[in-house]
């Protein structure tokens, strides 16, 4: 008997359509797996078993009627900041510990319409603020490759669930690297699509001008399938847009790959660098031209991000006041409204969230707005122009997803800057709104290394093709 939990979307599709197994059997084998493996990994915050079993039965009927589409009956996991109607949605925060989603996010509606099966909601750093999944208000998730290590973050639960075969695919969200970095740490494929291609309606907002939903999967073909199913303009998200698909005229022999010299400098782990250079040598051997380029404002990207993202977060999280969402048990009874807010927010938010709300409040406050926030928006333009200029010379940009290998649980908890530096190669892509994919290319002492490939706006297909050529031909 084959292990059903190891299948890709394509493989599961052919098994379902060929009646080798039913969606109900497939779904149950995932719950068996989860109930065993997740005791150690803690990828899921909650399981949606009742919903999943019903969806699986419905999917089997759709298949029997010959109405199946590519995702019908395929089990998946959802990061716990996306709303699934009638199910808990916590965003990894105590504030929302008892919050039940009153409607479906647009991506969830699309998955449900296509008959996908939702197994559960995955762990994350609180409100997606973190790079290790240790800042979840509930528990840390562990890296399935080695339980002493973090899975990355903030979508660490989704990455770990795919890596440990506890779902076929998962959705995450990426504001500064929160899909690509955990994909790299867990050895799976993760796509951050072009800003605006996937609706954010029903995603609990962190930094709205940067947030983007995307897939985690076992390979790039699956990422492509999921992206094609969830993308598109949505009237509920005014920043969403229709996606023009480009003709597939890919030929690796004509490909020009740019390597930003700023991505291979100080702070990059030697083993990570060696693995990334090996992967690039593979593309060169396939006929691609490798060219050194410069993205001169790279050293300012992280600073720019840590002004813009907290500024937007301080506004987005103002709604959590104890009146509209989750009242905390206040230590002192009060009739004063401000005191009531203060008490609820002080108990409800974790340290990292408080820090970012305060940073954002500070950089938006009178006297500092021009020096910080406005300046950061201008630097954002410079960062975007760096990429525009680079794409006049090259077709894609490659480099490491993360400057380091997965780190140990607890290792960077007390040093905020060390933790922030884990996102140094990923934040620019969000600031410029570009699509980026992380693919697993190597292992160092059993820990995965990811290659990041960055394309111009709306060139997701180029990313999928380039990633697939590595998967098929690299040995």
């Amino acid at each position: 008997m084959i292990d059903l939990t190891k299948l890709t979307i394509k493989q599961a599709r052919s098994g379902l359509d060929g009646k080798t197994f039913s969606s109900l059997e497939l779904t149950k084998s995932f719950f068996d797996k989860i109930k065993d493996a997740d005791k150690k990994i803690n990828a899921y915050i909650s399981l949606t078993e009742g919903l999943a079993l019903k969806q699986a039965e419905d999917a089997d009927k759709m298949i029997a009627r010959g109405e199946a589409s590519i995702l019908t009956g395929i089990p998946c996991a959802i990061k716990d900041n996306m709303m699934v109607e009638g199910e808990k949605c916590t965003a990894g925060s105590k504030f929302l510990a008892d919050y039940t989603a009153p409607y479906d996010a647009t991506v969830i509606k699309k998955l449900k319409d296509r008959g996908a099966v939702i197994l559960g909601k995955t762990n994350m750093d609180e409100f997606a603020m973190g790079s290790s999944c240790e800042k979840s208000a509930f528990f840390p998730t562990k890296n399935p490759r080695d339980l002493d290590y973090v899975p990355g973050g903030s979508s660490g639960g989704s990455a770990a669930a795919v890596a440990s075969d506890m779902c076929v695919f998962a959705l995450g969200s990426d504001t500064g690297g929160s899909i690509r970095q955990p994909a790299s740490f867990c050895g799976v494929t993760g796509l951050k699509p072009t800003y605006g291609t996937v609706s954010r309606y029903g995603l609990i907002a962190y930094a709205s001008s940067l947030d983007q939903i995307g897939p985690f999967a076992k390979n790039s073909e699956d990422c492509k399938i999921i992206f094609n199913e969830i993308k598109g303009r949505d009237k509920m998200d005014s920043t969403s847009m229709d996606v023009m698909t480009h003709a597939d005229d890919f030929n690796i022999k004509n490909l020009k790959i740019g390597l930003p010299k700023e991505y291979f400098g100080k702070g990059l782990d030697k083993e990570v660098e060696r693995s990334v250079k090996d992967a690039i040598a593979f593309y060169e051997k396939q006929g691609a031209q490798i060219q050194e380029i410069s993205l001169p404002h790279t050293p300012y990207a992280l600073a720019c991000y840590y002004i813009i993202a907290p500024a937007e977060a301080s506004a987005n999280l103002a709604r959590f006041d104890g009146i509209r969402y989750g009242e905390m048990v206040a230590p002192e009874k009060t009739d004063d409204l401000i005191d009531f807010y203060l008490q609820n927010r002080s108990i409800g938010f974790g340290q990292e969230v408080k820090k970012r709300i305060m940073l954002g409040t500070y950089t938006l406050s009178a006297g500092y707005y021009d020096a910080y926030y406005k300046k950061a928006l201008k630097v954002r333009t410079l960062i975007k122009k760096d990429f525009d200029k680079a794409y006049e010379q090259v077709d894609v940009i490659m480099g490491p997803t993360s400057p380091c290998l997965p780190f140990k649980i607890g290792e960077k908890m007390d040093d905020p800057l060390a933790m922030y530096l884990a996102d140094i190669y990923t934040v620019s892509v969000n600031l410029a709104g570009l699509p980026g994919i992380s693919i697993p290319i190597a292992e160092v002492n059993g820990l995965p290394v990811g290659l990041q490939i960055i394309a111009p706006t709306l060139e997701e297909n180029r990313l999928f093709d380039i990633a697939e050529s590595f998967e098929k031909n690299y040995n």
């Binding site: 109607e85 009638g86 919050y99 039940t100 009153p102 409607y103 072009t194 800003y195 605006g196 001008s209 005014s238 920043t239 847009m241 404002h297 050293p299 300012y300 992280l302 600073a303 720019c304 840590y306 002004i307 103002a318 006041d321 009146i323 509209r324 969402y325 009242e327 009739d335 409204l337 401000i338 009531f340 807010y341 203060l342 008490q343 927010r345 002080s346 340290q351 408080k354 820090k355 305060m358 940073l359 409040t361 500070y362 950089t363 910080y372 406005k374 300046k375 950061a376 928006l377 201008k378 630097v379 954002r380 333009t381 410079l382 975007k384 905020p416 800057l417 922030y420 410029a432 709104g433």
Partner: protein
């Protein structure tokens, strides 16, 4: 550099109350992050335009039409309700 009083003031603006231990840690973390983001002052961007949004360059409008929603589920999520309204604290007449 940022002082203890500054941190208290920012906390107040953020509607957060920090205890003494949190204040001290915040002062330390805040200072190191601000030092880091102050890197941006090295750049002259006075003639550069701001980028606030990436996908759209004009306002998007749609008809304001009522739609079906699950009012009962939304009301159930509110900590305190009265006659199908959200109940809030008294702010006038004190």
């Amino acid at each position: 550099m940022i002082s203890n009083d500054d941190v208290k003031k920012i906390a107040k603006l953020s509607y957060l109350k920090l205890n003494e231990e949190e204040l001290q840690k915040m002062e330390k973390d805040f200072s190191s992050i601000l030092d880091y983001v102050n890197k941006l002052s090295e750049l002259d961007a006075s003639k550069i335009e701001e980028t606030a949004n990436l996908s759209i360059d004009k306002n998007v409008f749609r008809e304001d039409e009522p739609c079906d929603q699950n009012n009962e589920a939304i009301l159930k999520l509110m900590p305190h309700t009265k006659n199908n309204y959200l109940e809030v604290k008294k702010i006038l007449g004190k």
